[in-house]
Symmetry: D2
Subunit: 346 residues, 4 copies
């Protein structure tokens, strides 16, 4: 099978680099174009960026000439790692010119005609772009994804009234150069600009139901407090939930263990075999030990116990740059291809 | 004035070392005896311990011979840094033999005749040992102290119905050698054995009212989740409160800023001039920047904002080995001396 | 092909766990016995140890009953992760009873009849155990291995007169619980007990020549200074060399790039395709980015430049628990099997 | 006594903030002007900078209006924390207009008429600005200062032929935002741009002798290798020396312990009582434990032992932003005032 050519917008940033790392040897997609700002355009990729991944950059990509982020690219499927300051207009321009843009940027997440997609959670929201020739599909914020994936089967089975979450987020979520070492070494910063607003709104769109080709947001209350901790990869979150119908502890664990969704059934290349793992050990999950579970695509939960104020509390861990960014976006592209949403591509 | 001779039980551990560091040049107290387990007894102090404080150990203490923790010590005022595995019996033995024991250990915290003391919060609880010749007074857990000090003026002014807290605690809270570096470097551990139980019970005794020489525990609900983070000193806690009578944001800040208590009026040597500081900046307080406020004896609060589920949320920071351990205990001793609770001493 | 059954001595420690992790799905070897001290014996493995690897422990190993380290084990090939306090006698007992012991412990490294083996460097030293039914083969110290592998081709090509090395070593080299977090978080400790002595003697035996079935140590001067840094995995070392015959910079780089040895020719499962990588970038190699090169079995070098005192200086990086411990030992076992040193096994 | 008014150039950067912190309550100097680039000029200081010191910024400084770095400032004594990209011209302009500029920037360090000053080491070099109305005096690089102070008494007593140094430097040396956390968390970077060149040249000027009002550089060989480590404050350096006349170990220690210089005799406010401390313990000095010795103005040495290649090796530690930057500059100003070099000031 011929691979589908893909382009990466914002290829020189850290999310762009992660896309390149994850797409290496992908069975369906092949990077044929790298695009970035004017400052980088026309340079060799290796000269336009400081490679900060732990894998080595392939020579054929190192030598690729960086292009501008203009809808003259040949690849009709583009992954956007653009900064929010430019992503809004650029992504719209691409979509209007017949490209399928799968984006990590926040700009279009709440557009009515744009799915805010976690493939296992709301694959059906892709319906709103069905038949389109060109569209934007967005990935949620890194702190939203792990949380929403972990609560999806509970939401379906027991209903949710209140959700309280406190995060301890890794520095890779801030990009490169991102968080200064003087701010975070041996320290915690109890504030991440804009993060709490995303966490209290995005899960409601993702868990929303599709009615008349529109997404009706879910209706429960979320409170979020976000902290930055000196961890490289892996967002850990403490979660408290009040359910509509309070389950037993075992019922929750069973629902988690048995959760599989469309990406698993389709056996998509980046789909984890099991999306959610429950740890019985008191001290787990931990970012350093468990973030890479199923190559960073699975979510870990642990310490489920009854709460004094809500019904239950537990912790959730997910890899913020794999499942929470480039990996999640890649899985979205795989799903769109497998379900024939990519009109005009192959 | 002649200084009061004091002894330190468990002098070789990290809390014991902190006592020694803080008591250096104290205007009222003078260390005359260091006591520890049989393994250390009869050795020179510098040979019995590995000094891990950042100040240098004074030669006269380095050369002091370590004694056993037996009630044959000359000093009638003793600070206990004993491990919980032995503190229970030893402290009782000392109290029964006419010593005043001020302890960091958890063993006697819920004894009916033992105050669980934060000098600014419940100095009146000392009434229950009034007139005694020998008694135990305990210091709360390090994660409890900052929290309870910060909510005390709110509790008095507005009443509390529900309190939800998630902690990010420093490694010095685990003693020495304590937390292995392989567990915590670039990591978060979402579990600290026994910590959540302490946090949901201790504040209720401390905020309790004294009736007929007994402490009637306060009556509200607390849920606590405790995490270990790679920070040396300073426990940061995210707090959510539902009040009996919801105040405005400004009312809360005013109550914090104006809070002063008996240790401030008595101008005790270790009393912070201002016990609670409110930070207006979004990114503060932080462990590395603010733990040492007023030599580690003040508590920092910040990010006060309305909550979607409770009434308000904010963050609290306090120095866990100063205000949260040795410094708090020292302040308790100063208060007991100033208020004449130390029968037979001086 | 039937796999060779192997046992692990000291299976509950962190090196023991690393053996288990690396042996998972090994094409030639299969763990059939786990052995440890009396404290752990007769327990299920998962109850005898606290698993601190980032991979999950397989159920069949989790449930395996731990045996004592006695030469009544069925597997004749044993990997020793024993502590130096017991390894000396136990390993001798096994060897005397017909077992082949490949050990990480320091005890027998300088025994005359024991090879101190880095498979790519001194595979010929295995000659001294040829024909034996039972023997000990030792792995060098973790800080020695990366260094010696990197200088081996230079030693052969240009001769070495003086070697000066300063290390910055990861905490995983200290085992578990090992280095306390209070000692190393945001800190450097300029001392590792016994390490400098190992570094100035071991390379000389490894680089020694075999004469009359005896190893004649190499003859040059080594000075070593060892520091512990807050890094999880990966020892970084700054190296200065005075050669017998001073090469050009390019000659050194060519010698490194072209270096291949017997394990590469035999295509042993754990052999890196290329043992030594040279990085052109000024800021590389770094522990976090490059330790896992070739699954942790390759050594990285960089920053080669002329020195003001010696001839050249450069930095070396190697993964201390893979190439520097369990992985190196495994490669030794593969070499011994491929070269038919394991008399009586298979 | 009226305090001398001083201005700070580059007041908004991290070195500028450190100047402000250290000058708070200084007995001789008073900050009356803060100057920075056009971007900050005319703003309130607290709005022009993000305060990252652990002390709180005083209200009178927070509210001070930032001025431009033009020689129209009223204070004739200025501390320069300017970036090297602008310091060259600006400092010259100030000196030419009758200002005394004490600078941390590298630009003028090797000018013939500019002392490169460590007050205890080469106070006599100030002779070259004697009688001038306006001059530049420079502070050496942070990694040079600790080293040169530690070797000064050895250089005087025994002579030095070769000096070999490997550094492990704190992130605060890189300013703010400086080193990205993704680069250094749990990592070591074996490269700091320009640092090795400074270390192999600056000590030779500082240890040079004054002849005919010119500085004749000292004449020995230095090799330096510089690494960045995840430490907040405190540069640790491993040092090897070949002496002209090899002393005993005790002779070296005595020379260190007895070293006092002019700043000590003059009892300057920022002068440490004892400039060099020798630690007997194997594991000391360490950045976290010992950087703040004598408020960060003393240098710690330890682990002195014979070397296999040079004569001796040892480690040196100094606080890079206090002794190595703002504190050292302040001490220089005190010395200049006490010795009457500040023509026209007071």
């Amino acid at each position: 099978m011929n691979k589908i050519p893909v382009a990466i917008l914002g290829a020189t940033g850290s999310v762009g680099q992660k896309f390149i790392e994850l797409l290496t040897n992908h069975p369906w997609f092949e990077i044929t174009e790298l695009a970035a700002s004017e400052r980088s355009a026309n340079k060799k990729y290796s000269e336009a960026t400081k490679w900060v991944m732990s894998s080595r950059l392939k020579p054929e990509l190192a030598g690729m000439e960086v292009k501008l982020c203009k809808p003259t690219l040949n690849s009709k499927l583009v992954f956007s790692a653009l900064d929010a300051s430019v992503a809004g207009e650029v992504e719209t321009e691409f979509a209007n010119n017949g490209y399928f843009v799968i984006s990590n940027a926040k700009n279009h997440r709440f557009d009515e005609d744009v799915p805010l997609l976690i493939p296992e959670v709301n694959y059906n929201h892709l319906e709103i772009i069905k038949g389109k020739n060109g569209a934007i599909v967005t990935n949620p914020n890194c702190s939203t994804i792990g949380l929403t994936l972990a609560i999806k089967p509970l939401f379906d089975a027991f209903g949710i009234e209140q959700l309280n979450v406190v995060t301890m987020q890794a520095v890779s979520g801030g990009g490169y150069p991102g968080v200064p070492s003087l701010d975070i070494l041996g320290n915690v910063v109890p504030f991440i600009s804009g993060e709490e607003e995303k966490m209290k709104t995005e899960p409601l769109k993702i868990l929303g139901s599709l009615k008349d080709n529109k997404i009706e947001h879910a209706n429960f209350t979320i409170s979020a407090q976000c902290n930055r901790v000196p961890v490289i990869d892996g967002h850990l979150e403490t979660v408290q939930i009040k359910f509509k119908s309070k389950p037993t502890k075992n019922e929750i664990i069973e629902v988690w263990k048995n959760f599989k969704s469309l990406p698993q059934k389709l056996e998509l290349p980046f789909a984890p075999k099991q999306p959610i793992y429950y740890f019985e050990e008191d001290h787990l999950p931990q970012p350093r030990l468990n973030s890479n579970l199923e190559k960073g695509m699975a979510v870990s939960v642990g310490r489920l116990r009854e709460d004094e104020i809500f019904d239950y509390k537990f912790v959730v861990l997910s890899h913020n740059t794999v499942r929470g960014a480039a990996g999640g976006t890649l899985l979205a592209a795989e799903l769109m291809k497998a379900q024939n949403y990519l009109n005009g591509i192959l």
